[in-house]
């Protein structure tokens, strides 16, 4: 085991994938000489050459669209979108081309692209640098969507994403980029948990708290704080946003009877809405209270001095837990 930051783990995952398969190529803005604005690709151009770590002009649609052509040719491109808010110029190529070409060609053309997206807030960035666009891609059939929360998952799941013959949107929680953790670099991928498997990261009996990516650490903090208050929270890291692995959620909610979902993205049609609906369909008779969502607001991302009000934090999560438990909370006495 090696202690790595999340960025170092992703770098190691890219390196391993490139060593194993010469058809793995990286494309993105500033990923070569600079090593990426977050240094995720640091040193890779030096070791693999500019034909495999391709510094591109500033054109997101072209980064994705030329990767489509490379995939036609048998390559496995890994695209870096520099920031979440910059993915929209490439949106059409992702949802109209990358997602659909396998089905459109009756399975004859594969699109094994991995599209890495640093996402989410909490780092004090200006506009367009702190967004949570995952819902758009979860809604698009043909894509797989991943969000990692720790260095080991980042290393393992990135390699799984690159090995996948389906296109993968790989959301990296930028505010956790410097979080450290133990990583098994010799991990046997065939023995690793499946890329789509949700994981219980803290066991509990009173409430099921579901989240992913940047908020997993916050949810764990909330569980620790609640424990001191006599409440046992089970925290589930979704890991895969498409498909969502409902098995562990169903099993957990049947035990706890209570569900709270939390994410940074806005509430309306966010992942929380889907999870609440799906768990309610599957576990209605086990629910002891209406499921609760604790999310970002339905607003354009605010200036960084205000983002602490937008992002769910430990206290907002605990308030949501109180709502699920029927304990006094900020909405007590409010009808509907």
């Amino acid at each position: 085991m090696t202690t790595l930051t999340l960025t170092q783990a992703i770098n190691a995952g890219l390196r391993k994938a490139m060593e194993e398969d010469p058809k793995v190529v990286l494309l993105g803005e500033d990923i070569g000489t600079l090593g990426g604005v977050f240094r995720v690709t640091d040193g890779l151009m030096k070791d693999f050459g500019s034909h495999r770590v391709i510094d591109t002009p500033l054109a997101e649609s072209a980064i994705i669209g030329t990767a489509v052509g490379l995939a036609y040719r048998g390559f496995r491109p890994v695209c870096e979108i520099q920031f979440d808010g910059f993915i929209y110029p490439g949106f059409d190529q992702i949802v109209s081309q990358v997602a659909k070409l396998h089905m459109r060609t009756h399975g004859q053309v594969r699109m094994p692209l991995t599209i890495r997206v640093p996402f989410g807030g909490g780092i004090g960035s200006p506009e367009h640098h702190s967004e949570s666009p995952e819902g758009y891609f979860v809604h698009t059939s043909g894509l797989r969507v991943i969000s990692v929360s720790n260095p080991q998952d980042a290393y393992t799941m990135l390699r799984q994403a690159i090995a996948s013959d389906d296109p993968v949107l790989f959301f990296e929680p930028k505010r956790r980029y410097h979080a450290k953790g133990e990583v098994d670099l010799e991990l046997d991928l065939s023995r690793a948990p499946a890329m789509g498997a949700a994981r219980i990261v803290a066991s509990g009996t009173d409430v099921t708290l579901v989240t992913y990516g940047p908020l997993v650490a916050t949810a764990l903090d909330a569980a620790k704080a609640a424990f001191d208050d006599g409440v046992s929270i089970e925290v589930i890291d979704l890991r895969s946003l498409s498909p969502i692995d409902y098995g562990p959620l169903e099993e957990s909610v049947r035990r706890t009877g209570r569900l709270v979902v939390t994410h940074e993205a806005g509430e309306t049609l966010g992942l929380g809405a889907e999870i609440v609906a799906a768990v309610t369909e599957r576990c209605f008779n086990y629910l002891e209270a209406a499921p609760v969502r604790v999310t970002g607001f339905d607003i354009p991302y605010p200036p960084s001095k205000l983002e602490k009000h937008h992002l769910p934090d430990l206290d907002r999560m605990l308030d949501g837990v109180d709502r699920a438990l029927g304990r006094p909370n900020s909405l007590s006495g409010l009808e509907g």
Binding site: A59, A62, T66, H102, M103, G107, D166, D245
Partner: protein, 379 residues
């Protein structure tokens, strides 16, 4: 060679390159002539045959749409020389990224007629295996395929291959951001890609003048991409121009841009009515530049096209049309459960659940009906 005109510093030729004039007489063009010195009368007859056949495909498909057998059809009437001249300049291992209108190109690549029709009948999204014919699936999103061609061409370079990728696009596509981004990338990485723009003068109802205040070929040098304008109704000139670009690509010269100046004589698709947006005079002017009549006159002028050959051409076109009609009308509807196929390369829990539930729903009907649904409705 054309290097002096191809230099990024040089504006494209103000005129339009031609080898056969509108009246069927030979035109001297020092730029293009060297690329077709091997083309003899027999090969010209084959080009004529191709054009006659794809015009007949076009007419038959248009009729089938009017008869309710096709949901839609994008006519290529008037653009036969642009399609045939370009595709016949390619090698088998060159990879084509077409729009939705290159049905004549698909035919020449070997795609089955029923397969070509299946997209327009609504039976399938793609009517051929892209890797069998080295031709991508038809692209509906305007200009998207130019990036795919550029990326494929970048891959060819990485693989050390000497073949090329060609992107077909229309005049309207040149307004799309993807086309401009593709030219930036193609120039940046000197990708062996040919941008083959068929300027048919109309992007549905928007005239080419709305798209650009300069000749479309004039844009490419701004990206460092050599370009030329060619008479798109002159099949020999289009063949030569595409060979020029292909030669550059294969020899490491990088991307090229061809503007084939032609005219869409029919509608954009069978869903629109061109009489609402363009005048009769314009259409009649272009009818006088008909690509098939031109080559026919050229060959007749050389005494190389007799009544027997004409009859053979028509007979071939009739046979193709009959095959197309039969293939279209007898095409089975796909099986209902096939809507779930190939969305992913392997299982996806949510989709698998939906598939399972829908299968159970279908199974709640009579067994006979379920079987029929599963096997496909052959009505």
């Amino acid at each position: 060679m054309l290097e002096e005109t191809a230099s990024p510093e040089t504006s494209p030729q103000p005129g339009i390159h031609q080898l056969i004039g509108a009246d069927g007489t030979s035109v001297v063009d020092e730029l293009l002539a060297p690329f077709v010195t091997d083309v003899d009368d027999d090969q010209l007859l084959e080009l004529l045959s191709d054009m006659v056949v794809i015009r007949r495909i076009d007419a038959e498909a248009t009729a089938l749409q009017r008869q309710g057998q096709l949901a839609l059809w994008p006519p290529m009437l008037g653009q036969e020389a642009a399609q045939i001249g370009s595709v016949r300049a390619l090698e088998d291992d060159d990879f084509i990224f077409p729009t939705y209108r290159e049905n004549g190109v698909a035919y020449c690549r070997g795609a089955k007629l029923a397969g070509i029709m299946s997209t327009w009948r609504g039976s399938a999204n793609t009517g051929w295996d892209p890797y069998e014919f080295n031709m991508a699936t038809p692209q509906i999103i305007i200009g998207a395929q130019t990036l795919h061609a550029t990326g494929y061409a970048m891959g060819l370079t990485m693989d050390g291959k000497e073949s090329l990728a060609i992107a077909y696009l229309g005049d309207g596509a040149t307004s799309q951001g993807d086309v401009h981004e593709s030219m930036v990338f193609a120039a940046s990485f000197q990708a062996p890609v040919v941008f083959f723009c068929q300027n048919n003068h109309w992007a549905i109802s928007e005239p080419v003048g709305l798209q650009s205040h300069v000749p479309l070929a004039g844009r490419a040098p701004g990206y460092g991409i050599p370009s030329l304008r060619v008479d798109g109704n002159d099949v020999l000139a289009v063949l030569a121009a595409t060979r020029w670009a292909a030669t550059r690509a294969r020899s490491g010269g990088g991307p090229s841009f061809i503007e084939a100046v032609t005219y869409r004589m029919g509608a954009h698709t069978t869903a629109d009515d061109p009489t609402r947006y363009r005048g009769v005079t314009e259409l009649e002017e272009w009818r006088g530049k008909d690509p098939i009549a031109r080559l026919r006159a050229f060959l007749q002028g050389r005494g190389k096209l007799d009544a027997g050959q004409e009859a053979a051409l028509e007979a071939k076109a009739d046979a193709v049309a009959a095959e197309l009609r039969a293939g279209c009308i007898n095409m089975p509807d796909p099986a209902p459960m096939s809507i779930f196929d190939n969305v992913y390369t392997s299982g996806h829990a949510i989709l698998d659940r939906q598939r399972d539930h829908y299968e159970r729903y279908l199974a709640s009907f009579s067994g006979t009906e379920v079987d029929a649904l599963a096997e496909g409705n052959r009505s």
